[in-house]
C-alpha cells in the first residue's frame, strides 16, 4: 500500500499551449510535499493528472491505488446529506458509522444529516477533508483547499490538516500559492515554473513550526524570490 508517488515526464498541452512540459516528481510514503507556482503555472493541471482525472495528460504515473482529492471548491453534492457525501463511492456496510467517525475527526459529527447548502465555507471544506480521509488514502491530493477561507479559519484548517497528517501519515501533495502555508506544513516545497519543477526547497524546520523562526524567514524569502516577488516583504 505504501508505495509513494513517482511521476516521470508529465506533460499536458491545451491546443498549441504547453502547460506541463517535463515534470518529474517523487513523494515518499508519508511525506508532505507542497507545490507552489504562479497562477496559471499548471499546478491544478498537474494535480489532476496525478489523480488520474485527466486522460489527455502524457507521462508515466505511479500513484497509490488509494488516493483522494480535495479541491479548491468543496464540490459536495448539494442534494446529498453530509454523511452521504462523505461516503460517496464507498460500497461496504455500516457507511453511516464510518462517516460519523470521519466527521468526528474534523469536528462535524453533529452536522452529519445536514445538506451541504446549510454549511459555512470552512465547514464544507472540512467535510470535503472528511470525505478524503474516510478512504484511508495512501496519497492525499489537496488543491488549494483553504484558498477561499478567511485568515482565521484558514489557520484552523491548516492545523487540522497537520494533525490529521500526523495521525494517519498519508503522502500529501498540497497545491498552494500561500508560501507560509507551504512552509508551515510541508517537508519539501516544489516550485512549478515554465512547465517543469524549477526548484526544490527542503524545509528543515522542527515541528510544530513557527513563523518567527529565523530559518523560516530565510526560507520564505527564497520561496518568494522563486515566485518572482522578492521585494514583497521589504514593501510591507
Amino acid at each position: 500500500m505504501t508505495t509513494g508517488v513517482k511521476v516521470r515526464q508529465a506533460g499536458r498541452r491545451f491546443g498549441s499551449r504547453t502547460v506541463l512540459r517535463d515534470v518529474d516528481l517523487d513523494i515518499a510514503p508519508g511525506e508532505f510535499v507542497a507545490l507552489i507556482g504562479q497562477s496559471g503555472s499548471g499546478k491544478s493541471t498537474l494535480l489532476r493528472a496525478i489523480a488520474g482525472l485527466d486522460p489527455d495528460a502524457t507521462g508515466a504515473y505511479e500513484v497509490p491505488d488509494r488516493h483522494a482529492v480535495v479541491f479548491q471548491e468543496h464540490r459536495l453534492l448539494p442534494w446529498s446529506r453530509v454523511w452521504r457525501n462523505v461516503t460517496l463511492g464507498l460500497n461496504e456496510t455500516n457507511l453511516r458509522e464510518r462517516a460519523r467517525r470521519a466527521l468526528d475527526e474534523v469536528g462535524l459529527a453533529a452536522r452529519a444529516n445536514a445538506y451541504p447548502g446549510t454549511l459555512s465555507g470552512g465547514e464544507s471544506q472540512r467535510v470535503a477533508l472528511a470525505r478524503a480521509l474516510v478512504r484511508t488514502p495512501g496519497l492525499l491530493l489537496l488543491d488549494e483547499p483553504f484558498g477561499a477561507l478567511d485568515a482565521l479559519t484558514r489557520l484552523k484548517a491548516q492545523a487540522l490538516v497537520a494533525r490529521l497528517w500526523t495521525e494517519h501519515r498519508p503522502a500529501v501533495l498540497l497545491v498552494t500559492h500561500d508560501v507560509e502555508e507551504a512552509l508551515l506544513l510541508a517537508d519539501r516545497v516544489l516550485l512549478l515554473d515554465g512547465g517543469r519543477i524549477a526548484e526544490t526547497f527542503d524545509v528543515d524546520l522542527p515541528r510544530p513550526r513557527s513563523i518567527g523562526h529565523p530559518r523560516f524567514v530565510a526560507l520564505r524569502r527564497q520561496l518568494l524570490a522563486g515566485l518572482g516577488v522578492a521585494d514583497a516583504e521589504e514593501k510591507l
Binding site: 482525472l53 483522494a68 471548491e73 464540490r75 453534492l77 446529498s80 463511492g89
Partner: protein
Amino acid sequence: MVSHTLEPLTAANTADAPAVKGPPGWRKLARSVRKLVGLAVIVVVWQLLAARGDLGNQTPTPGQVLVAAYDLIRSGVLLDNLAVSVVRVAKGLAIGLSAGLALGLVAGFSKAGEDFVDAPVQALRMLPAVALAPIFLIWFGLGDLSKVALIAFAPLFPLYLNVLGGIRGVDERLIESARSCGVGTWGLIRRVILPGALPQILVGLRQSLGVAWIVLVVAEQTATTSGLGVIINDAKEFLQIDVMFVVVVVYALLGLATDALVRLLERRLLSWRRGYAGV
C-alpha cells in the same frame, strides 16, 4: 440642508416587526388564502360581467354553471366521461413521459446518442397536434388508440428537452470529484447526474402535463363516443352553453390538480435546494 428623517424607534414599530410575519402556521394559512384569491377574483369578475350581460346574453354565470354541473354529476354523465378522459391521459402520459425520459437520457448520457436522437426529435417536435389528429385517426383507427397515441406524442417533447438540458447543466466539476471518489458509471448517473438534472426535469414534467390536457381536447374533438370532448360536442349541438362551460371549468381544474401534484413532488424531491424562493 440635510433632509433625511430618522424614524424614532418606538415600541410600536419594533413590536410590529415580528407580528407581521407571525407564527409559521399562520403564515401557511395566509399563503393558501392568497393562492385562492386569484381564482376567486376570476369567478367574481365572471359573475359580475355575465350577470350584466357584458359577455353576451348567452354566457352563463358561475352559479348557472354550478347548477348544470350538479345535473351532469347526478346523471353520471360527467363522472363517467371524466373517467374515460383521465384514463386516456394517464395511458398517453405513461407512454409519452417514458419515451421522453428515455430519449432524453440516451441523448444526455452519450454524444452518439444525442447525434442519433436529437435531430429526429427536433423535427417531430414541430408537428402540431391539430395537424396530426386526422393522420393518427387513419393510422390508429377510430378507437381509443388514436387518442392515446396523440396524447402520448405531444408531452414527449417538453420532457425530452428538459431532461437533456438538465443533464447538460450538471456541473462538470461535481462529476469529476465524484469520479475521484471512485464512483462508477451507474453511480454517477444515480448519485450525480439524475439528481443534478432533477429540477429541470420537473419543469419539463410540468409542461408535459399541461400539454397532455390540451391535446386531450384536440383528440376528443372528432370520432369520439366517450370522454369530456363528447359532452362538449353534444352541448354544442343542442346549444347548452352552460354545459360547455362546465367542461371548460373541469379542464381548468384538472390542470390545476396535476400542477399541484408536481409542486408536491418538487417540495419532496428538492428539499435540499437553496434557490431563491421569492419574498
